[in-house]
Amino acid sequence: MSEQSPDEVVPEVVAPQVMGRHLDRQDGVEKVTGEATYAVEHPVEGDLLHAWLVTSTVARGRVVRVDASAALEHPGVEAVLDHESAPRLADTEDRELAVLQDDRIGFRGQVVALVLATSSEAAREGAALVAVHQDAEAHEAAFAPGSATYAPEEVNAGAETDTVDGDPTAALAAAPVVVDAVYETPHEYNSPMEPHAATALWDGERLTLHDSTQGVHPVRATLAPLLGLEPEQVRVLAPYVGGGFGSKGLPHAPEVAVALAALSVPGRPVRLAVTRQQMFALTGYRTATRSRVRLGAEPDGRLVALRHDAESQTSRIKEFAEQTATAARMMYAAPHRATTHRVAELDVAVPSWMRAPGEMPGMYAHEVAMDELAVATGVDPIDLRVRNEPEVDPETGNPFNDRRLVECLHRGAELFGWAERPEGVRARAEGDWWVGTGVASATYPMLWMPGNGARVRSVEGGRYEVAIGAVDIGTGARTVLLQVASDALGCPPEAIDLLVADSELPFATVAGGSSGTSSWGTAIAAAAQQFRADHGEHPDPGVATTATSGQYADMSGHSLHSFGAVFAETHVHRWTGEVRVERLLGVYSVGRVINPTTARSQLLGGLVMGLSAALHEEGWRDPRFGHTVTQDLATYHVAAHADVRDLRAEWLEEEDHLSTPMGSRGIGEIGIVGTAAAIANATHHATGVRVRSLPVTADHFLDLPALAPEPAGKA
């Protein structure tokens, strides 16, 4: 067998044969039967131990003493680790990941001990029996208007903290029409159905981790140096992952905890399943945001100035600055513009990525403000957006790849029946329900991550093995990457064995930022094309090529973005204020859709999560104690089946060869962007009540009968 050395290869365009068509989801049978094995479902060899986390009950302070005596007397409990007995980490700079390394408590719900037992029942009971003596210090956990804030050095995804073009202050002062309002989004929790979990085994030389993660290589890259190990000593596998939506994009404290536990019991596998309740403190969340948006416009709706000043909060132990205002930098033409981000530092759990960080809360604020401008100017909301189309990216001055927002708006308007929309508010009623429609734009950047590699090997019988460490968290990556490999190699998908989700395979970046297919697919294209160049069309069995992809995407010459338009019809009950989303439509420009089946599911899933944010999701923190009160699925509401009614996702036919050799862009996140704004705007159209904070709950509409004349009946 010959093997080429890994070189950076920039692939050529891949001609579509299998791409663009339906291919059955490759792991469907395993999933509908329950035979797919998730992180704590892998059979283990050896004497299994169950781990249970003990967490702090003060928001700030120190652990004085961990009294494990009662726990250790409980049958089945074998060990209790605390900050004095746990193995030492080689690096404790990241305070979220410095688990059990010292006595400091940075937030309520932080890991302060860990119980190992022979059954999960014993581990759980043991955890309840651990007495943690804590010294409480004064803490601050309320994110309120007027909270002290600071300007971070940069915001998430490496974006600039503040930007200014022209003189927005003067332009706003002189603008004939001004919208100036504050929009708020609450703490939101990713809440994938599979709680964060891992099975770890330390055999004395190597740590093997079956993890529930969006990236096996990123977990290895974080854990190995933390544990003082070489990367080769850590193997991470994630064949099936029960959703993530960002919360499994970065390793969090539980992964460190289970690794420490495994190190403490060489040769014994350790399983840790984080409880649903613990997830609300330990696995990241979308911080609440507060956005002051100011739009200055001509009477015809053309923007002359805009400002988006965004505040969010983070943990004092680790900074995460939501990039709430970045979409405002590129969305619409306005000669004078400014954006700022400020962060309040609190004694709270560490926020992190949740589906479309930045764009989701930011576009909610921006697109409701645009709706307010439409009302203020009397311009149709679609026309208003069309009038503010920029010719080039207002932020960079670069041309867009192919900005098709206007086509999305117009196609959506046609499919939705926008032309029949009455102009005024409270113009239509059906029985006891006020009916309204709303629209919002969506956008998401095309992201490509460097460093991805893939290996192509020929095997007996004219078959190929294609390998990359990418993880399918439910996106359909297993299926879509097979389609890419098939077209890149010029052979049917049935002739390819695709290996994924193992850090032993070529390096793959995170399934996040809607960058997975773009980044991994580009690497597979590179490896497949290099394989053909090395070994021809009829390779001997056993020959292989490994390649790392160079940058294909034209990220410096063009501004690469996806766009969409979301339309909602809401019904608001005139007596109870109940809000129902009767129709929701998204029309997207996302490059080539590689698999229409899995793509539609992802876009619909984004719309559902946007609907969920619009109507339900609201994490409540009690600032007196610093904990999340709504820490389960009975109190932190996510959309259930009956909440979702007529739902539709469509896309424009296109191929984007500035972004990827497949002609595709990412689709994982754009579905959630703008959705809550479209719904909020529709409730305004239905009722005349403007809701500027999520979720759009019934109490906002309780005064409706007093505001409104009797509905005239069916419109």
Binding site: T33, E35, S119, M193, G243, G474, A639, A642
Partner: protein, 170 residues
């Protein structure tokens, strides 16, 4: 304290020692290695652990194993036919891509089987318009009856179409 328990799981008789604190879900997953039912919340809030217990859909996280001596449990794995063929509900989930990550799916599938049985047996629901007539498998009935099974991937439109197909509705 451990107690011996005999269950029929997916057609096979199994005897297992359980702690009196062991839920039926943990007895299946951790003691018998039957991981087809999933644990999403452990509090009866998500539906991922749904199985067919003695002929009815049931949340296995909300019941203690010791209460079910002699019970018959059918998980999503046990819905396959003798030849391994998929159950019509499972095939319908594949046909309509009624899932993404797959974690809630075995529970959704078991719940759907239960829903179809319940509608056939004439059980009314919160949204049944005419309580005097036999319920029909309308979209609203499916949505309502499937609402105990959360899907964070948001596959509800596919699940709806799948249940509709498996139930023979238009």
């Amino acid at each position: 304290m451990d107690v011996d328990l005999t269950l029929t799981v997916d057609g096979a008789e199994r005897t297992v020692a359980v702690d009196t604190r062991t839920t039926l879900l943990d007895a299946l997953r951790e003691r018998l290695g039957v991981t087809n039912p999933k644990k999403g919340c452990d509090h009866g809030q998500c539906g991922s652990c749904t199985v067919i217990l003695d002929g009815r859909r049931h949340l296995t996280c909300l019941t203690l194993a010791v209460a079910h001596e002699g019970a018959e449990v059918v998980t999503a794995g046990g819905l396959r036919g003798a030849d391994g063929a998929l159950h019509p509900v499972q095939q319908a989930f594949l046909d309509h891509d009624g899932f993404q990550c797959g974690y809630c799916t075995p529970g959704q599938v078991c719940s759907a089987v239960g829903v179809l049985d319940e509608v056939r047996a004439g059980h009314r629901s919160h949204v049944t318009e005419d309580l005097e007539a036999d319920p029909e498998l309308t979209d609203d009935e499916i949505r309502e009856r499937m609402s105990g099974n959360l899907c964070r991937c948001g596959a509800y439109p596919g699940i709806l179409a799948a249940v509709r197909q498996a139930g023979g509705a238009a």
